[in-house]
């Protein structure tokens, strides 16, 4: 077990089908491998039906609550812009934010009865200054060979926030969760993501 009594809180948010679940599974493998206690609470009851998906991910010496307190998120990993701003209040003042530069319109916006918020990244920067990072996960994944790997690109970018975990530990975790034929693509996606911020 680690000496560090601190609990680190990672909040993942996105829309059903974006691969946020795989991303949180990779993080779980990595931190369990590093000897931490881990709790991961997914809210995905109706994700198949286009709803939002969030994961409360916590690691440390001993984690009790499965849920993160509002205002205490160390790292926000958002797979979609609206699903990033929805959780801006959850991040602690010195928290870090990684946003995938993608917009998926919710029904009310599709129907023209609500506006998709303007300048989400600007709003984040007004509070968190240089701790806001934006990555075009889809574009990078396409260049690597498959847009499906966007989630692993984001994990790669996110790994910059966690210097205590080596790239090899991440790649090992990714491989342990994916079929062998997907290993090369996703390893590349991880490293391209790592370089992206």
């Amino acid at each position: 077990m680690k000496e560090n009594k601190q609990i680190t809180n990672i909040f993942l948010s996105g829309v059903g089908g974006q691969g946020a679940i795989l991303a949180s599974n990779i993080l779980a493998e990595v931190f369990i491998g590093a000897g931490y206690d881990v709790k991961k609470a997914e809210v995905h009851g109706m994700a198949q039906r286009g709803g939002d998906v969030t994961t409360h991910f916590r690691y440390g010496e001993r984690v009790y609550s499965p849920l993160i307190k509002q205002g205490s998120v160390d790292f926000l990993l958002a797979f979609e812009l609206l699903e990033a701003i929805r959780y801006i209040n959850w991040v602690k003042p010195d928290g870090k934010i990684l946003i995938n530069n993608q917009k998926i319109f919710p029904p009310a916006v599709n129907l023209g009865t609500a506006q998709y918020p303007d300048d989400i990244v600007g709003t984040f920067k007004s509070y968190f200054k240089d701790n806001v990072y934006v990555v075009d996960g889809g574009e990078i994944a396409k260049k690597v060979g498959n847009i499906q790997a966007a989630n692993v690109v984001l994990v790669g970018a996110f790994s910059n926030f966690l210097p205590e975990i080596s790239d090899e530990q991440f790649v090992k975790a990714i491989k342990s969760l994916l079929a062998p034929k997907l290993h090369d693509l996703n390893e590349k996606a991880f490293y391209e993501g790592k370089k992206a911020i």
Partner: protein, 601 residues
């Protein structure tokens, strides 16, 4: 040391296998559904079945128990209401092989029609209840529940909830237990199993004696645990409430109850003698508080500050107990100002055209529990009641009995295939028997949809994917005495409207069945539409927004002043996302200007 991260429900499934369970029966319901799925997928030595409802599941499990096997029945909280009838008498019969009834609560009603605190069943039914708070305890408590069941001759309730069942935490596994008891039924045990008055009365006394023994056992139960730290404040709590409180106030002392019924009286007395003030933190009802107050203790805080509604979180516990000292975190953006992302029927879902048709007919629709409950939301607004599984049929019948001829043409009941088999048959039989005139539409999409595609008696497959008999809904209707049975293709809106109207107007019971309308997410039966993709012809679109009324996730509004090719001014046009469109043609039928047409994908 074999430590792995497991969802609470996966830990329950593994524990069942490791406890030597031979029988597992369930009806799906969030957040419990993964348990039986995992048992069926991972542990072939356990017989597993989806039963048609929770009552049957518990009866099946108890039969296995009477035959000497360890048996498990799983359900969500409202499912235990359905299973309550056998449960309350199984408390009297007791068991032979261990019998565990797992009940999954859903505080905050994340995906349920109400918010019940199932702990009340333990007191009401006079059975022990265990309550785990994380996956390790899911694993340990399931195992020990079977030992308790056999030791004390009682069914054991195992209570979980959304944040326990659907949370992944580390689990250390233990050796597999193999029961030595041979299987077999024993006629000599009839005085224990036949609940006639002469047998009930001695068993009633047995229950009182059993509860006393269980309360003594609770005092030494290894999962009722005292943690003495700062003695100024001691917290009595259980399950996930312990996790939330310990997260915020690690310095306090704790009495963490693994068994929430019956309560360990000596341990509670001991705890009160060790700490200055006692706070009780529990989700939902003041269950522990009522009992502990009744023992004569003074409580410093309980439900005077801890909410009795919705789920708890660390934040709510902190805010409730710190009062004025609590500092809320900064609000940067008001979440209520952001557009929500509510669940919606899938693109191509067969329920969408039916609800559009029912809306056009102006019908009052008695609904049910399932994906089709989503038809209540705007802009469809086509479902007007949702109470419990099977309720819509009885309610439509009751309403029509009151409205008489006045109600003709205006009322129907809708329910899914799995729901119909769960508890719709008796309602429909009653409509015929009591000379009702209501209309029942069975939205047969060939699977239990909302809970994640579980098989049932109408799909032709068992939980393990083996082929089996497939219920014929039309034959059921006939056997129940329904004379007017019609079939609709919901994707043909005009025809559907005509048939439903005709049936609703008839002064006799009617039954309407979907044909060829499987769930869009069900791969094995994926319906092939004539054309795979439709698009909006911008020359013809007048921007009337009619197609937006069906709330298809593939259709969106593109604002922009302009005019159609034939000179009609418009404020924008509809757009169909080719990645989401499946070609169901519903929007094309809704469009009055023929501007939605098939295109090459």
């Amino acid at each position: 040391m074999d430590r792995q991260i497991m969802q609470g429900n996966a830990a329950f499934a593994r524990a069942a296998s490791d406890a030597g369970v031979r029988m597992a029966a369930a009806y799906p319901g969030t957040p419990s559904s993964e348990i039986l799925r995992d048992i069926a997928a991972e542990y072939p030595e356990v017989y597993a079945e989806w039963s048609p409802n929770e009552k049957v599941a518990l009866e099946v499990a108890s039969g296995a128990s009477f035959a000497g096997a360890r048996a498990l029945a799983c359900m969500k909280h409202v499912g235990l209401n359905v299973a309550a009838d056998p449960l309350m008498s199984l408390a009297y019969t007791g068991v032979k092989g261990g019998l565990v009834v797992l009940v999954a609560d859903d505080p905050f009603s994340h995906s349920s029609q109400n918010e019940q605190d199932s702990r009340n069943w333990a007191r009401f039914g006079k059975m022990p209840m265990l309550e785990p708070g994380e996956s390790q305890e899911c694993y340990d408590f399931m195992r020990v529940a079977f030992d308790i069941s056999e030791q004390f001759d009682t069914p054991v309730l195992l209570r979980t909830e959304t944040r326990v069942s659907h949370c992944d935490t580390l689990v250390e596994l233990r050796d597999k237990f193999v029961p030595e008891r041979p299987l077999g039924l024993d006629k000599k045990e009839w005085t224990k199993y036949v609940m006639v008055p002469a047998n009930v009365r001695p068993r009633r006394l047995f229950i009182e004696e059993r509860t006393k023994k269980l309360a003594d056992f609770a005092d030494t139960f290894e999962y009722n645990r005292m943690e003495i730290n700062d003695t100024k404040i001691g917290v009595i709590t259980s399950g996930v409430s312990y996790m939330y409180t310990k997260d915020v106030f690690p310095e306090w002392s704790y009495l963490k109850l693994g068994m929430v019924w019956p309560l360990p009286k000596k341990m509670i007395a001991d705890f009160f003698s060790k700490v200055e003030k006692v706070i009780i933190v529990e989700e939902l009802d003041p269950f522990l508080e009522t009992e502990i107050r009744a023992m004569g203790y003074e409580i410093f805080h309980g439900k005077d500050v801890i909410p009795s509604v919705y789920e708890l979180t660390s934040e709510i516990v902190e805010k409730s107990l710190k009062g004025d000292e609590y500092k809320a975190s900064e609000v940067r953006v008001k979440p209520e100002d952001l557009p929500r992302r509510p669940p919606n029927l899938c693109a191509g879902c067969s329920h969408r055209p039916l609800f559009y048709a029912l809306k056009k007919l102006g019908a009052f629709v008695f609904g049910d529990i399932g994906c089709y409950t989503l038809g209540a939301a705007p802009p469809l607004n086509a479902v007007h009641t949702t109470v419990c599984m099977g309720a819509g049929i009885g309610q439509a019948h009751g309403a029509m009995k009151m409205l008489g001829e006045e109600g003709l043409g205006k009322v129907c009941a809708v329910l899914g295939d799995s729901t119909f088999l769960h508890s719709g048959l008796t309602g429909l039989m009653n409509v015929v028997y009591n000379k009702g005139i209501s209309t029942t539409i069975v939205l047969d999409n060939r699977i239990t949809g909302m809970t994640g595609h579980q098989e049932h008696a109408g799909t032709g497959f068992t939980v393990r994917g083996e082929k089996t008999n497939m219920v014929d809904y039309e034959e059921i209707g006939k056997a129940l005495g329904v004379k007017s049975i019609r079939k609709i293709d919901p994707y043909n809106i005009e025809e559907t409207m005509a048939i439903v109207k005709e049936e609703m107007e008839k002064s006799e019971p009617s039954m309407i069945l979907y044909t060829n309308a499987p769930c869009m997410l069900l791969r094995r039966e994926k319906r092939a539409f004539e054309y795979p993709l439709y698009a909006v012809d911008n020359d013809l679109c007048r921007g009337c927004k009619m197609c937006l009324d069906i709330n298809c996730p593939a259709i969106s509004w593109r604002a922009g002043e302009g005019q159609s090719a034939d000179g009609h001014k418009r404020k924008g046009t509809a757009y169909i996302n080719p990645d989401q469109c499946v070609g169901c043609q519903v929007c094309a039928q809704v469009c009055k200007f023929e501007s939605i047409k098939p295109v090459i994908k």
